[in-house]
Amino acid sequence: MRKDLVLGMAGSGGDGIVSAGESLLLAAALEGYHGVMTKSFGSQIRGGESSCRVRISTNPVLNPGGNLDVAVALNWEDFLKFGAELPVSGSTVVIYEAATGVAETDIPLVGVTPLQVFAVPISEMAKSAAGTERAKNTVVLGLIAGWFGIGAVAVMQGIRKRLAKKGQELVDANQRAFDLGIAFAREHPLKSDMAIAPAEAKGTPKLLTDGNDMCAAAAIFAGCDFFGGYPITPSTEIMQFFTDHVWKYGGAVLQAEDEIAGIGAAVGASFAGKKAMTATSGPGLSLKTEMMGLASIAELPLVIVDVQRGGPSTGLPTKSEQSDLFAAAFSAHGDVIRPVLAPTSVADTFAVTVEAFNIAERYQTPVIILSDQEISQRKETLDPIDTSRFVIEERLRPGAADLQGYKRFKDTDTHISPISHPGMPGGTYLASGIEHTEVGSPTNSGSVHQKMNDKRTKKFAPLKERRDLFEVAGNPAAPLALVAWGSVAGVCREALLLAREQGLDVKLLVPTLLYPVAEQAYQDFFTSVKAGLVVELSHLAQFHKVLRMHLDLPAGVKSMARSGANPFLPTEIVGALQHLLSELQRSHEGLLQPQE
């Protein structure tokens, strides 16, 4: 029996494909499986194409998976709109709505013959069982339970819970639709058994959430008391979570009139002594540029989340991309260093967010969390997180001694100055975006400017020494390497396993800290490296360029980059590694022995 199954389903908005995916993931979670689900939509608000991809596994899931094991098309136009997002291979089982009238022999998939194809009268079954087409997705869930053994019990539990108040009749109708799906599967067995093995850790309660909710929850855990923001896809859910929960902790949210006011309010809250956050996506990040510079020179802690989507400008608002790194690291005029962190999954979004607040507080600086549409909106099952492991840092407050002739911007040996806030007796000072002296008086002295620039940059030195912000997997001495960040890191983690299975001696570097660039961490990693790939969803290969800017990469390290909405497959990454290897072997024969 298989340990891992990747399903992709597409239909038009009304088909309830996404809620089917959610029921499926929930069921899998209840049955103790690991799972992840991503959604993707057209630009219509309603009635447009929508799809989801659900990956269920007996082991922890690294990413939403590559080629589909199971493809479900409620109609072909919509399915095809998702192109590379729902890739069908020779080992895919394709299930589609018979009512489309398309013959199993000529489904519109070019250049591939699926393992098996089923035209299923889904809507017909829905009508006969439930009297309404709206039960189509329940039929699909039945088919999946029947063929692949997921959620035979748990799916209906969930549905029952959900529909409870809507009355028994509706529940029964769905039960009939579900059973009909199972029955159909039984009557049409697969060539080869594809049922998934039972989950090991059955029963242990799992967490189920997406990147945005996790980010907001982590922020509140880290002590964030204020959120100022403005809605924008795909980051809005972060603000929504705050509006639902932050009040409970004495905090507040401001849905501002625009992004500038949103971050402005957060800057104000931080000045007033509270941990503050704002969240946005590309266009909003661009608008926050000036305020980010203010926070840097005023040395105010602040966490800014940028959930990346396709750019430039409005670009592709519902698709994932990694093209905001330049903006995150370099936007805002003047000489300023602003730390940038990136999560790679829903799970580590928790740690990364807490870390962002710690860094912001410790170094009195804005910190950017660069998430992306995939992580922010994908749902993941996770094992419970032991929050007691996490240290929560607070900004350095002035003591009685500091308050004698208080110097807000005192250049200490750590270059970090004790910071007061309104309400604190003896700590009054003038915060400003103008260059200022240690006491905070405006100045236009070149020497003070040089001194303050030194202070504001040198304070980050210890941050660049941190090794815990860099994950290295695989053989530390490997000559082949992968480097990736954000959601693409998950794909590379799987590529790493795959490549090692194929005998490649590879390692993987996944940085959580993207900027400032910790030269040493990379140099240590690259010492053993002869060839490798920096993999990213950025047309300009922004991450590869930022690395070049700060270190001399081994000649054999190349960029593997392309535009967003064109997700990488683990297999193609391994393919690229194979190619590099052969080149390398041609260049210096016998240098590398594929490991046993």
């Binding site: 909710d213 409970k248 902790y249 104000g268 419970p384 009054t428 975006g433 008086s441």
Partner: protein, 291 residues
């Protein structure tokens, strides 16, 4: 909030020496602020004074309050963050006509509809002072400046009418020509429980026109009290406000007799309501448990 104890004007004056031009109206404004604050008596460290950028926006640095000389046009968003973070603070915002009604013009209506207890004073000099004399949003049509040598083609904004239309609970106008009156108005504005706006005609001696200097302003000024204007009559206030630019009405245009609850008050209610029985922060992930 600490009990109010005895403070004098000088307790609010910082030792940063103002670098305004000799004769600038803003000298009087900061004096008025010292006096109003002394009358109210909150200790300086319980006051947050936020401004944007401009000559007028230097004002927080000349007080002993926690000051924030931020970026151009953004005093109000920052002030709101401060107020929500710590509603017990006395929050003042200030800036110029350009700072407030040009680049910052999009923020005022929203602060007003939220009605936070913030007092906003605009030092209106009909010019961009700090950048050395360009048209400001309150410059009259035809005004000749270094960006309008052939005269401005635009009608000015009307700060008073706008703010009244936005629904501000307290709207007044003052001028250094009457320092005592200005201090009194500022005090009343600060004491008003909700958003309060004070437009101060503060002459720019360097780039202002003759008519905009104290003498000229005195000539067109007119006390609203003497006009027996009823400050609870909003429509009448709007009607009077239409004369902005031709007459200089001094005093209170509008004061809401029963002020709406402030945003921060509503927030406190909500917090009190929801804090009961909320899981501690370290258990917040329980929200995601499925079983």
């Amino acid at each position: 909030m600490s009990a109010t104890c005895e403070f004098q004007a000088k307790d609010y004056r910082s030792d940063l020496k103002p670098i305004w031009c000799p004769g600038c109206g803003d000298y009087a404004v900061v004096q008025g602020v010292y006096r109003a604050l002394a009358a109210i008596g909150r200790p300086p460290h319980e006051i947050a004074f936020v401004s944007g950028i401009g000559c007028s926006s230097r004002i927080p640095g000349y007080t002993t309050a926690y000051g924030f000389n931020s970026v151009h046009g953004r005093a109000l968003p920052i002030a709101q963050g401060i107020k929500l973070a710590n509603p017990d603070l006395l929050v003042l915002a200030a800036g110029g006509d350009g700072d407030g009604f040009s680049i910052g013009g999009g923020h005022i209506a929203h602060l007003i509809r939220r009605n936070m207890d913030i007092t906003y004073l605009v030092m209106d000099n009909q010019i961009y002072g700090l950048t050395k004399g360009q048209l400001s949003p309150t410059s009259q049509k035809g005004r000749i400046t270094c960006t309008s040598h052939y005269g401005s083609l635009e009608a000015p904004v009307n700060p008073l009418l706008y703010v009244l239309a936005y629904g501000a609970g307290f709207v007044a106008q003052a001028c250094p020509s009457d320092l005592v009156g200005m201090a009194a108005i500022l005090e009343e504005a600060i004491r008003f429980p909700g958003f309060a706006f004070v437009n101060i005609q503060s002459p720019c001696v360097t780039y202002g026109e003759e008519a905009q200097q104290l003498k000229g302003l005195k000539a067109i000024s007119q006390s609203l009290a003497e006009l027996h204007h009823d400050p609870s009559d909003r429509l009448a206030a709007m009607d009077l406000a239409q004369e902005y630019g031709t007459k200089l009405h001094l005093g209170v245009f509008y004061k809401n007799p029963d002020p709406a609850p402030t945003f921060e008050a509503l927030v406190k209610e909500r917090q009190a309501l929801l804090m009961k029985g909320a899981p501690p922060r370290e258990r917040i992930l329980d929200l995601f448990i499925k079983s």
